[in-house]
Amino acid sequence: MTGIKSTITKLSLAVVAMYGFSYALVPIYDTFCEITGLNGKTNEVAYVANDIKEDNRFVTVKFISNVANSAPLYFEPSVSEMTVQVGKPYNTHYVMKNNSSKQLHTTASPSVTPGKHAEYFKKIECFCFNQQTINAGEVKDLGIQFIIDNELPNDSGDIVLSYTMFDISNNIKETNKL
């Protein structure tokens, strides 16, 4: 019977470990995404430019915007496209307007395509690092500063940067209630 007991113990541990593993997949996946650019995820905290060198290549960056769940927001890039020099920081901004009669809390989710180029698109400053609060009728400029890493392979074509704006006012209200 000791054989059976030790089998049970080992298997129970395996079950617990596999349950833990499912949660471990969350950070593993994030790391994986960052390395491979899976899903076009970009850096989530400000990039501190240090070792990027200017070079004389130019790439076109296209700016795209989306509003999730048809929230009452106007959200568009100020320019739809820029041709930028690799390794040089640039500024641009998006414009957001609250078309509702209430104050809203929003947050933006960035995504770059082709995903494999996401890692070369470095955001030095981005409104997507924080949540926004926007009053009824208010218009806001949301700035980004970015730099294209000179490690970018040659011949990589255009880069598309997309932001999806989410209205998270309800979630915030709910967490406050808790």
Binding site: G3, I4, T7, I8, L11, S12, A14, V15, V16, M18, Y19, F21, S22, Y23, L25, V26, Y29, C33, T36, G37, L38, N39, K41, E44, A68, T107, S109, G115, K116, T164, F166, I168, N171, E174, T175, L178
Partner: protein, 524 residues
């Protein structure tokens, strides 16, 4: 023999009637409970399939609204997978494993009782959500967020019942492993175990490794919905695609959980009716093990269209194609077993032969699906529906039916009616093909899956499929009738019911005694 009969008498101290079944810790009683429960769920899930096929008989909506249709597809899948096929295999394991390895019972009888009795509660809860005002789950059995997060009140109940089902499977798997590793008759080394025991051992490990991952995934769904986490919503930095990765990390091993025991059954029946030993026993064991291992690194082939990086797509394409190698080895070994045998074609053999052909057809379409650029066309169409039904119905379900016919005389001491069995076989096989073969065509022609209504050019094949589905359903009523007739007979079956059958279970009397082997047999 007489010792066994004495033993039977001894057992009569136990409670009778309903209490006997509720409190039983006997592997045969529990095996029967599992099998009857599975049959019931097979019909419940089947009725839902018929609702689906009735609606799809013609274009235009005739019977149900789209929301209800989606509940039917979701429930049908959950019930067939977790309620019909998995419990049937556990039932077979309960009946057969102790007899096949020369043990008196399962290693953990009380645990065994719990793992069965969890099921009726879980399914009552799952099915009751259909009567909620907001309806049952409708996001597909794969529960992809954000859609599944939109659902009504059913969601926590569905998740809780899935947790229960997972727990039941895990307990069952622990029991199976503990039994196989510790209770084999002296002399039965691992490489002498019957192949069905081997496939179940490997399946049990797959369960242990994959069910907790499902539990994790659905718990994250639950906390995303109710506790403000955002594992899967982009608004909070999460990613809906992450759910798909976790789900299929469970899901692909799960599809092998649904087929490995079937491989074991077919590998038992083919030699018995070919009167020749299984060809390549060792390679069968290794093939099963490598399928199981590979099943953990192919998951993303279910999600080629989510936009993975090129390297990922290539990796998962190659690993998936690789699975075809050990699968092919199994098929070749079965054919080699028949080669120069001395075959007869009783009902279990017929089902096993149909299994080989039709499962292989499902394997071929699987191979086509593995080719990523082609899968961009096939994915989420009826072609995929055809694929997985070929591997699951004439695959898993045929194997279960074959097993029931094969071991029924051992379990009950009564022989089924061979003519009716053959009629059942031919009806089932013909209708299964009428139902599922045309789905390849409409899928290739562009019909998406999970839709309640379709463009008119898909009408003809859908009509054929619907006719086939009702025919298939009807044929299974014949199965129930055959079981009923068999059980009403007196005990007449021989201890060894099939000329070519091998294994310890055939050394026991028919019906098998309540405790299988009190004194372990010697195996050399």
């Amino acid at each position: 023999m007489s010792a066994n009969i004495d033993h039977l008498k001894e057992e009569h101290h136990q409670p009778s009637g309903l209490m006997r079944w509720i409190t039983t810790t006997n592997h045969k009683d529990i095996g029967s409970l599992y099998l009857w429960f599975s049959l019931l769920m097979f019909f419940v899930g089947g009725l839902m399939a018929l609702v689906i096929r009735a609606e799809l008989f013609q274009p235009g909506l005739q019977f149900v609204v789209p929301g209800f249709f989606n509940q039917m597809t979701t429930m049908h899948a959950l019930i067939m997978i977790f309620g019909a096929v998995m419990p049937a295999f556990v039932g077979l394991a309960n009946w057969q494993l102790p007899m096949m390895i020369g043990a008196p019972d399962m290693a953990l009888p009380r645990l065994n009782n719990w793992s069965f009795w969890i099921l009726p509660f879980a399914f009552t809860m799952l099915l009751s959500t259909l009567f909620f005002e907001s309806g049952g789950p409708a996001a597909g059995w794969t529960l992809y967020p954000p859609l599944s997060l939109q659902g009504g009140n059913s969601m926590p109940f569905v998740i809780f019942s899935l947790h229960l089902l997972g727990a039941s499977s895990i307990l069952g798997a622990i029991n199976v492993i503990a039994t196989i590793l510790n209770m084999r008759a002296p002399g039965m080394t691992l490489m002498k175990m019957p192949i069905f025991v081997w496939t179940w051992l490997i399946t049990a490990f797959l369960l242990i490794a994959s069910m907790p991952v499902l539990a994790g995934a659905i718990t994250m769904l639950l906390t995303d919905r109710f506790y403000g986490t955002s594992f899967f919503t982009a608004a909070g930095g999460g990613d809906p695609v992450l759910f798909q990765h976790i789900f299929w990390f469970f899901g692909h091993p799960e599809v092998y959980i649904l087929i490995l025991p079937a491989f074991g059954i077919v590998s038992t029946i083919i030699p018995a009716f070919s009167r020749k030993k299984l060809f390549g026993y060792d390679s069968m064991v290794y093939a099963t093990a490598s399928i199981a291992l590979l099943s953990f690194i192919v998951w993303a082939h279910h999600m080629f269209t989510v936009g993975m990086p090129l390297a990922g797509e290539i990796f998962f394409m190659f690993t998936t194609m690789l699975i075809a190698v050990p699968t092919g080895v199994k098929v070749f070994n079965w054919v080699a077993t028949m080669w120069k045998g001395s075959m007869t074609f009783e009902t279990p053999m017929l089902f096993a032969l149909a299994f080989i052909i039709l499962f292989t057809i499902g394997g071929f379409s699987g191979l086509m699906l593995a080719i990523t650029p082609a899968d961009f066309q096939y994915h989420d169409t009826y072609f995929v529906v055809a694929h997985f039904h070929y591997v699951l119905v004439p695959g898993a379900v045929f194997a279960i039916i074959a097993a029931v016919y094969y071991w029924l005389p051992k379990w009950t001491g009564k022989m089924y009616n061979e003519t009716l069995g053959k009629i059942h076989f031919w009806m089932t096989t013909i209708f299964v093909n009428i139902t599922f073969f045309p789905m390849h065509f409409v899928g290739l022609a562009g019909m998406p899956r999970r839709i309640p209504d379709y463009a008119v050019q898909f009408t003809d094949f859908n009509m054929i499929a619907s006719v086939g589905a009702f025919g298939f359903g009807l044929s299974q009523l014949l199965f129930v009738y055959i079981l009923f007739l068999t059980l009403r007979q007196p005990v007449t079956a021989a201890d060894k019911s099939w000329e070519g059958a091998e294994g310890l279970e055939w050394t026991l009397p028919s019906p098998a005694p309540y405790h299988s082997f009190d004194t372990p047999p010697k195996v050399d």
